[in-house]
């Protein structure tokens, strides 16, 4: 409910409804846990496939965790990757998940992926600077969608996209192996291969791969310490 009935209808469209963002000072930028990271999102004939590495690091120089899940379901048929500041990404995911759930409960149908991407962009731009660069992937009535949400709230749709410190290496692999109309099974191999390339050469990425498979039925996420399990 709004503070006063003078104000109704004027709620801020760039802020979450469920509580406003905390204004966190981020002057210790270099010291916070970062995901380093390589995350890959592909649209496929069946839906969307997302692959992420499993390393958390301090400034890309020290491995602070070797078993991190960097892709989370945020919507019945959509997932978001954690890239950049772990705290920023976690609060971002929790907020989006709550907003998507509120929307669906109120209206009896889930948010479209385009609406979810617009909302994510608004939150990226509207709140405190989060130092994150996630990929949003999802399936709705209009088909398969992959978006890159940049740290300033830019929202860019693509057929396939990569974010994180291993981006160049992973893109190199995707340019060779991605094609339109892959099945999810084929795309999982292509995405894992892209992450594997980055894991070999990017110090911020490593320790295995998480794969998220999205269809109109839902989201399935599985981790693999060994790339051979999926290639």
């Amino acid at each position: 409910m709004n503070d006063s009935f003078e104000n109704v209808g004027a709620e801020n469209p760039f802020e979450p409804e469920v509580g406003s963002f905390q204004n966190v000072q981020s002057d210790q930028e270099g010291e916070v846990t970062k995901t380093g990271t390589t995350t890959v999102g592909l649209t496929t004939a069946d839906g969307v496939v997302i692959a992420t590495d499993m390393r958390a690091s301090l400034g890309g120089r020290f491995v602070s965790n070797k078993d991190v899940q960097k892709v989370e379901q945020i919507h019945p048929t959509a997932a978001l990757t954690l890239v950049g500041s772990v705290g920023g990404a976690q609060s971002f995911i929790e907020t989006l998940r709550a907003e998507a759930s509120l929307y669906e409960t109120r209206r009896g149908e889930p948010m479209s992926i385009d609406a979810l991407a617009t909302l994510a962009g608004n939150f990226g731009r509207g709140g405190p600077f989060r130092a994150i660069h996630p990929i949003l992937g999802g399936v709705d009535e209009d088909g398969s969608h992959v978006y890159s949400i940049d740290p300033a709230g830019g929202v860019v749709a693509d057929d396939y996209t990569v974010t994180g410190s291993g981006m160049q290496v992973a893109y190199g692999t995707l340019e060779q192996y991605y094609e339109e109309g892959l099945s999810n099974e084929e795309a999982k191999k292509v995405a894992a291969r892209a992450v594997q390339s980055a894991v070999e050469r990017d110090t911020g990425s490593g320790n295995g791969v998480f794969l998220a498979e999205i269809t109109d039925e839902g989201v399935e996420i599985q981790g693999h310490k060994d790339f051979d399990d999926v290639l």
């Binding site: 409910m1 109704v8 209808g9 109120r106 209206r107 617009t118």
Partner: protein, 251 residues
């Protein structure tokens, strides 16, 4: 004496129930709606028609300045019966709410979502201290991906979806006509015709196309479109109702 004193107490505070569970101020707001001229909405497979009687009390008033139909967004219109000033306030709320949806999610607002936002706002004015309920009922009409919808919002803050509905003066007569004559297979212009027939039934005077306001939201375009007087006259001429003819009208 004691009894009368008590009754006045819950008569005045909007947030106070009477012992038999009634909110008198909200009921009085409904009376205010009945004092307004009639407004009718008819939903058809091809779109929704809104018809408002804006009969003016003086020939010196410019009829166009009497606002009963309002475009809220490209695909939604609102018609009101009751206090025009209260309606304007709600229409502005609805317009801002529609644009907020566009900014927040990058999509056009659904008719049900908008109707419920409006009624939530109306409800706040039945429970907030110092507020007065809105003395107006709205018909919220629009399309959503080619699907027509028509909602009524009443002063208590209830949203009801209708196939055809009337609010305002002579509601019972007009609604009775709609109940008898409505069929699912109307075109939009036939929907307008049905509403005008219903209006004619409630009125002793012939229908003057210049004193009814007509608009439709068509499913094919998802767009709100006001009708001009000539279009209304063409529809009226096809009806078996008495009309004010052109010469008389132009005097």
């Amino acid at each position: 004496m004691q009894g009368q004193h008590n009754q006045q107490a819950y008569d005045r505070g909007i947030t106070i129930f009477s012992p038999d569970g009634r909110l008198y101020q909200v009921e009085y707001a409904r009376e205010a709606v009945k004092r307004g001229t009639a407004t009718i909405g008819v939903r058809t497979p091809d779109g929704v028609a809104l018809v408002a009687d804006r009969s003016v009390r003086s020939r010196l008033i410019e009829p166009e300045s009497v606002e009963k139909l309002h475009e809220v967004d490209d695909h939604v219109g609102v018609a009101s019966a009751g206090h025009v000033a209260d309606a304007r306030k709600l229409v502005d709320f609805a317009r801002r709410r529609a644009q907020t949806e566009q900014l927040r999610y990058g999509q056009s607002i659904g008719v049900e979502t908008l109707a419920k936002s409006i009624t939530d706002n109306i409800q706040e004015h039945t429970q907030t201290g110092g507020a007065r309920p809105f003395g107006v009922s709205l018909l919220i009409a629009g399309t959503e991906d080619g699907e027509p919808h028509l909602y009524e919002a009443d002063p208590s803050g209830v949203a009801t979806e209708w196939k055809a509905v009337a609010v305002g003066g002579d509601r019972d007569v007009i609604q009775g006509h709609l109940e008898d004559e409505y069929t699912e297979a109307l075109g939009v212009d036939e929907g307008v015709g049905l509403a005008l027939e219903a209006l004619a039934e409630a009125s002793d005077d012939p229908i003057d196309p210049a004193s009814v306001d007509v608009a439709a939201i068509e499913a094919e375009t998802d767009e709100y479109r006001p009708y001009d007087v000539e279009e209304v006259r063409t529809i009226v001429d096809d009806l078996e109702v008495e009309t004010v003819d052109e010469e008389e009208d132009e005097e």
